[in-house]
Amino acid sequence: MPSPANAGPAPGPPDGGWGWVVVFGAFISIGFAYAFPKGIAIFFKEIQGFFDTSYSEIAWVSSIMLATTYGAGPISSILVNRYGSRPVVIFGGLLCGIGMVSAAFCTSILQLYICVGFITGFGLALNLQPSVIIIGKYFLKRRPIANGLAMAGSPVMLCTLAPLNQFLFDNFGWRGSFLILGAILLNCCVAGALFRPIGAPKTQSNEEAKEVLKEGVAKDAMEMNSSTNIPVETKTEEEAKDCCEKINKYLDFSLFKHRGFLIYLIGNVLMFLGFFAPIVFLAPYAKHIGIDEYSAAFLLSILAIVDMIARPATGIIANSKWVRPRIQYFFSFSIAFNGACHLLCPLASGYKGLVVYAVFFGLAFGMVCAMLFETLMDLVGATRFTSAVGLVTIAECCTILLGPPIGGTLIDTFGDYKYMFIKCGAVMVLAGTFLFIMNYYNYRMLAKEKRKAKEEDPKSVRTESEGRNNLNKDTVQDGPELEPLREEQERLKKEVNGTNEV
């Protein structure tokens, strides 16, 4: 029976078409967000001499930028929840441009911290989250591939930015380079313009909205792990819920009750302690064991090239029908694999050994990065992903910043790089194992809930809970244009008994 309003069931994500253009936009946006902090390291030596500071003071610029990019995640999520991806990315691009242009006229290191560190960092944060979010909105069946392709932007941009920055520096000095880089960052606005909003349009009447939400409601009922007979709430309860829901509308704190989310959070926070340090110290380690500067730099290029190929490839593998249902295991495996590489690195002797290490490291790094957001989407679903990504990035922010300095301290204390590698490897193997075990438990619990839901509601078409397939959950496009009308959802829940299902 067709539904009265104009819409039948909300259309699923297109999984193609304009989606690929969006992937391209996300590619650029994500590429800038990840590669830019690393790319400007070329200018540091000159700036350090110019402002007469020590290297560590200059390195703070990069750290502040990275910290702001990750730390501003929740703000980004709130804005996307409210306004949608497109305006946020365009605004982010403008902010980056303004930050870098003003950095070109800086006269002190403190001003650099503010302009390059905070403003540009914040702009990049406004680029990163929405790009990842909108992929979840446009893709479902092919989401891992889309994620892999979009995340490949990071190594590609890094490989492009490094020689470009060198060229700009040789021709324009650091001030001119910052000016031009500001203009280049404005291209994020172009990427943002490509992010056409998707989902039920704003102009729908409430009636239609309710219809569309009915499907969402049905799933939400399952989702909440409670009995399908929701008791009638008293007025005060409703009011309290309204307030919480208002906050949750902007940033979904109820995610902290979500088992999968918590598992992901803990595992990832642990993993990031040992994630970036080996990259930071690979070249110095190579020089330490006697390799010349250019070959050491070449190691990083090898890493980037392998990374570039590994990410889309991982996306394709993760999309295959064998891996997709068990994607969490694949993710845990790649983290553990990464850790194993680090543990074996001290055994590598000479340049050839390090090249082999760089290849495997690039592979592992690419695998982890490609699935980083895909697994989160898989666990919480596209609707709540907006908030989830914000909360996760701010939690990761701390360990990301701590990782390299801890590694550096280990190196300084022991005078040997191998302890840093052992620490990184051990942390990542631990994180991988934790995720593996906990996800096994999670899958089992989800299967149990699924069975329970099936038993209690045999007529319901949507018998799948948020089990391995979050597909159903994601078919409801909760765009920001359509605010989750949770109050109405509550009322509609009473109707849920397999009626009006399409």
Partner: protein
């Protein structure tokens, strides 16, 4: 056919300062001091070695054959003074290690002062000259010696000549298979190229270039903007000069920059003893050009050249505006395309609706009952 080997060794002494170099044998895998051979002359001397960086490249000679050899290890009775400059390992010759140099400097508690020993062992085809660069920054007593390998002791050596430039040096000390000259390098005139030619069945020659240390400068031009400040840096790695002087070029002349001359325009800083910095404030296009930094050593002066480019803000502004224009155009195109495709969709929908209405009307007028579900556009 084995090539004959020739040891070339020089040793010298030096009062006062301490400069030390230790170049380990790299041609031997994992070369270590243990590989160093002890020559009979040095048997009763012990020495401690430390590492510094050799400022001048040791890989000067493109010999076709490589030899790897190490050189003496000498030990002396004295102790290393506190002015040890420890630095990174000496520049390592590339994989085709052709020669190995080993230079050590120790303090000898004799009235002679310091003694520098330098031995190079090389084997090459006869006829090719081996060139060694030796960097000296203060007065030194040096002994340069050419030593022929033991296996050629039977070979007839007709003539051994030591020359400075083209001038032959008279008094050569001969011991067994080695011929050496002793020099006191006390001023600039004594620096130069000293060559040793051993003429036997085959001819070998070694050339020693005695030079002042080279200055380390950035070879790319420093780019700054009008109204900004510029910082020019010169380094003399491993050697500490007595003083630094900066020059700017005015046409073809070099004018020394006196601090007292333009106090608010130029600031000269000696950040470290071997690093100097010239800060130029309030740049104008007239400041564009070549600058020289000169380091004065006991044995002479050494110069470094720096280029300064002063650009106006218009220069980067053009690419900036070009890119901004590109961004604006692209964004406009994308939005216009979107509006256009939306309009097209709407038009298509309207037409479809229109067609459906027409269809219904005709069906109704035909009196056909419509029990089927109405097709709704999704």
């Amino acid at each position: 056919m084995p090539a004959p080997t020739v040891h070339a060794r020089f040793s010298g002494s030096r009062p006062g300062r301490l400069l030390l170099l230790l170049c380990l044998c790299l041609s031997l895998p994992g070369g270590s001091p243990a590989d160093l051979a002890v020559t009979p002359q040095d048997a009763n001397q012990t020495q401690e070695n430390s590492l510094t960086r050799m400022p001048t490249g040791l890989k000067s000679s493109p010999e076709p054959m490589t030899t790897a050899r190490t050189v003496n290890r000498q030990t002396w009775g004295g102790s290393i003074s506190d002015h040890l400059t420890l630095g990174p390992e000496a520049s390592t010759p590339g994989p085709d290690l052709t020669t190995l140099e080993f230079k050590q400097d120790t303090k000898l508690n004799t009235s002679n002062g310091f003694y520098v020993e330098y031995e190079v062992l090389l084997s090459g085809e006869s006829g090719t000259a081996v060139v060694k660069n030796i960097t000296l920054d203060s007065a030194v007593r040096i002994e340069l010696s050419c030593k022929l390998d033991d296996k050629y002791s039977s070979a007839k050596v007709l003539q051994v000549t030591w020359k400075k430039g083209n001038e032959t040096i008279g008094h050569i000390n001969k011991t067994e298979n080695s011929w050496s000259i002793q020099l006191t390098i006390s001023d600039n005139s004594k620096l130069g190229s000293y060559s040793c030619t051993v003429q036997g069945e085959e001819k070998f020659s070694v050339v020693f270039h005695l030079q002042v240390p080279k200055i380390d400068v950035k070879d790319k031009p420093v780019i700054t903007y009008e109204g900004d400040a510029a910082v020019l840096v010169c380094k003399s790695p491993g050697y500490t000069p007595i003083s630094w002087t900066w020059y700017m070029t005015n046409g073809s002349e070099q004018i020394a920059i006196n601090d007292s001359l333009l106090l608010d325009k130029y600031v000269i800083n000696r950040v470290f003893p071997n690093v100097t910095q010239l800060k130029i404030l309030n740049l104008t296009s007239k400041d564009d050009g070549v600058y020289w930094c000169e380091a004065a050593f006991e044995l002479g002066k050494s110069k470094g050249k720096l280029k300064l480019k002063v650009l106006s803000l218009m220069v980067p502004l053009k690419p900036f505006l070009a890119i901004v224009a590109e961004v604006v155009v692209l964004v406009a195109v994308i939005f216009l395309f979107e509006i256009y495709s939306k309009r097209r969709e709407k038009r298509a929908e309207v037409e479809k609706e229109f067609d459906q209405i027409e269809q219904l009307k005709s069906e109704e007028s035909n009196g056909v009952e419509n029990s089927s579900t109405r097709h709704r556009k999704v």
